[in-house]
């Protein structure tokens, strides 16, 4: 498949860019942070995203989606990254809906996916148990006792937990790894908000003797490790798209500043010491665009190398986002260190996203392992 966007995808990009610039710009994230908003996003903006069909963008039409594939979702996420637009798009649409598509039975898909598409339900994956992503390794347990399944464990860094109607909890059970849809208001579920550096909503969610039924387990009792891993891979490509947009925007803000800021009676962008660094960053961003688009297309084509591409893409985009955000602060000089200026938001979000589902080191290591060395 050609590494270009088709006409429909280009229109989607323009529509997403325009909407997010007007309705969910970085200034909105600042307001949410400053007011200590418990939700961490604007519900009315989210409702508009739902109305535009973004919740179902990667979900097949049979389940109430739009069927634009992950390339479509990636295009939107790239624009989300540009404006640091806060919403449950990443947690509920990119990750949770993907877990359902990968792991659920047909009946569960028919039941759950239309509710995500319609915006009626927000889901969030409760996977991590420490600050380091461990793939599908979990200690949370799901034990069968008197016909009920009892979940015990503590999940960290659960995104958009405050608004989630339910969590998809990864837990060990008799057949290996199980994924359980657990309503947020069940007895024994408690959500402790955690304030994060990027001002986005996150929480530690504990599950204490939470009783669920077999119907709440995704898939028919089979081990869900492969399905979860595939979902994590897809999520990492989506996160890479967001990192790409974030890096592009940080770069463009910096480029504008290099042309406008004068020192020694000339624009600082005329200095070769800065020009070469900007040019190198341009090259890296071009490489990033190719990696992200290729990985998104690979998911939609269901190519066998998706796992390898996901780790390669995440590792590369973590590197690019780190470079772009660090250079943005440095080239802005003192003003880049001020809270008043937006660049700091990009720096913070870049690192928070890097650590979701494995940072650069994790993915370099995994890439080498998958490559047989």
């Amino acid at each position: 498949m050609a590494l270009i966007l088709n006409e429909e995808q280009q229109m989607l990009r323009e529509a997403a860019a325009g909407f997010l610039r007007d309705k969910a710009p970085v200034s909105q994230l600042r307001e949410l942070r400053d007011s200590g908003d418990p939700l961490g996003y604007r519900p009315e903006v989210w409702q508009e995203m739902v109305n535009m069909g973004w919740t179902g963008i990667a979900i097949p039409e049979a389940y109430g989606g739009v069927g634009y594939g992950y390339t479509g979702l990636g295009i939107v996420l790239q624009e989300v990254g540009r404006h640091l637009s806060a919403s449950p798009l990443g947690s509920s649409v990119l990750t949770a809906a993907t877990v359902i598509l990968q792991a659920a039975s047909e009946q569960q898909k028919v039941e759950l996916l239309p509710r995500i598409c319609s915006g009626e339900w927000l889901l969030s994956l409760a996977l991590e148990e420490s600050g380091h992503h461990q793939g599908c390794k979990v200690n949370t347990s799901a034990k069968t006792s008197d016909g009920a399944i009892i979940i015990n464990g503590c999940k960290r860094f659960v995104d958009e937990a405050a608004s989630a109607n339910a969590f998809i909890v990864a837990a060990r059970d008799d057949s290996g790894l199980g994924l359980f849809v657990v309503a947020a208001d069940l007895p024994g579920v408690s959500v402790q908000p955690v304030s994060m550096v990027d001002s986005r909503n996150s929480a530690t969610v504990s599950f204490q003797n939470v009783a669920v039924t077999a119907e709440q387990r995704l898939g028919a009792g089979a081990d869900s490790t492969a399905a979860l891993q595939a979902s994590i891979d897809i999520s990492n490509v989506g996160i890479s798209a967001e990192l790409l947009g974030l890096s592009q925007q940080a770069f463009e803000l910096t480029l504008a500043y290099l042309k406008e800021r004068e020192q020694f009676a000339q624009a600082i962008g005329s200095f070769q010491g800065l020009q070469h660094r900007a040019a190198e960053l341009f090259c890296e961003l071009e490489l990033g665009k190719s990696m992200v688009l290729n990985a998104l297309q690979a998911i939609d084509d269901d190519r066998p190398e998706c796992a390898l591409l996901a780790s390669a893409t995440k590792a590369k985009l973590c590197e690019i986002a780190r470079l772009a955000s660090n250079e943005a602060v440095q080239m802005h000089g003192g003003i880049g260190m001020t809270d008043e200026y937006d660049i700091g938001f990009y720096l913070k979000r870049a690192r928070a996203l890097e650590h979701r589902f494995g940072d650069r080191n994790y993915h370099l290591d995994r890439y080498a392992t998958l490559s047989g060395y």
């Binding site: 590494l3 341009f282 090259c283 190719s290 590369k316 370099l364 290591d365």
Partner: protein, 388 residues
């Protein structure tokens, strides 16, 4: 069967029948590359036969018009030909600066007489060309070149010296940048073609750190060049030079495409060994993973560049980006090879392939415009950053 599929079938049949078995072996030494020209000694009968058969169909230059010795193929057909040659392992019949550099410039800027005179000889490998660009005092600042061509009424009189002229000692003709106006810099340069056998032309090979001598110093002393050998308008040579440099950059960055052949991870598993399924040296393991991912990103970007060009979505002045990144990546690749092969890579034997390639790669980011010049071009032309 579609027309293109029919073309594929016929092409494959012809290649199978016409490409000698020897010409379907991978290149094993420099002598296997066929450069052609008046001084060329064919390494084998098969090499000569293969060139003649391909040239007869115009397939040394598949997309050039038939009247200039080309194959007249569409881009799609040329792609099919390349794919079928690759799948059968057919060697490229002719390596040539005439094909990769001068030809495209003549097709764009040459007059009808020049095209008819020079292009067919390039296509048939009869004339080998060299490029007279750099001078001892005009490297990165190429436009400051001083080799002069004086108008003597019937002819131009050329005096001066060039350096880094690739294979000048083996070339038959030179395409050369000369100064025809000393009052302006870029607008005082013209593009001349002349025979290297002309009286007053001499060459002297330069031995490189890699041991080989692909480059020469080239001297011109009162060389008479017929006026009909001026390409384009007088003093408009810089436009042609820039166009040609773009092709040169693309050629150099396409070196990157050979990366995919053997992955360094597989090699290192053999030389360094595995421990619990992982390379025994974890620092090397990380370096290799980074390199392979960057290599993948570069290859995908080349692909995206082609796809975007085809779809009319231009990426802008990207040849500089590919030249910069591709050559830096190639240097990294060879440094990594040294790490993978250890002190064995330092053995300078009869055919020191690895150390010679490693040393030669240092020139990649210097020739055809240094990495720093490429970054200048990106900063100014793509990013629009101001001059100092």
């Amino acid at each position: 069967m579609s027309e293109l599929e029919e073309f594929r079938r016929a092409t494959r049949a012809w290649l199978e029948a016409s490409c000698p078995a020897e010409m379907r072996q991978p290149f094993s030494s420099e002598a296997d590359w066929c450069w052609g020209g008046r001084k060329w000694q064919f390494a084998s009968e098969a090499q000569q036969l293969w060139l003649e058969r391909m040239a007869e169909r115009g397939w040394t230059v598949p997309t050039w018009p038939v009247e200039y010795g080309g194959g007249g193929l569409s881009k799609e057909q040329a792609k099919v030909l390349a794919q079928e040659m690759k799948s059968l392992g057919c060697r490229k019949p002719l390596e040539s600066f005439g094909i990769s550099m001068l030809g495209p410039a003549l097709l764009k800027f040459g007059n009808e007489h020049q095209k008819k005179e020079h292009l067919p000889k390039i296509a048939r490998g009869e004339i080998r060309w060299c490029q007279g660009y750099s001078e001892p005092n005009a490297g990165s600042d190429l436009a400051s070149l001083q080799t002069r061509a004086e108008d003597k009424g019937d002819y131009y009189l050329v005096n001066g010296a060039k350096i880094w002229t690739s294979y000048a000692d083996q070339a038959d003709w030179i395409f050369c940048l000369v100064r025809t106006d000393f009052d302006s810099k870029h607008a005082g340069i013209s593009f001349l073609l002349f025979d290297m056998d002309s009286p007053g032309v001499s060459t002297s090979p330069i031995r490189l750190i890699s041991g080989s001598s692909p480059f020469c110093e080239t001297f011109f002393e009162n060389v008479k060049v017929p006026k009909e050998n001026l390409v384009g308008e007088l003093n408009s040579g810089w436009t042609i030079a820039k166009y040609l440099l773009t092709h040169e950059r693309e050629m150099i960055s396409s070196m990157g495409e050979s990366f995919a052949a053997v992955l360094p991870g597989e090699q290192a598993a053999k030389t360094v060994g595995l421990k619990d399924g992982q390379l025994a040296n974890s620092a090397l393991r990380q370096e290799i993973a980074q390199f392979e991912i960057d290599g993948m990103a570069f290859m995908l970007s080349l692909q995206r560049g082609k796809d975007e060009a085809k779809a009319g979505q231009g990426m802008g002045a990207v040849s500089s980006m590919f030249k910069y990144y591709g050559t830096e990546l190639n240097k990294r690749r060879l440094e990594l090879q040294l790490s993978i092969h250890g002190a064995d890579a330092m053995v300078w034997g009869d055919q020191p392939a690895l150390p010679a390639h490693w040393l030669r790669s240092k020139g990649n980011s210097i020739e055809g415009g240094t990495s720093e010049v490429q970054l200048n071009i990106i900063a100014k032309r793509v990013l629009g950053l101001p001059d100092a």
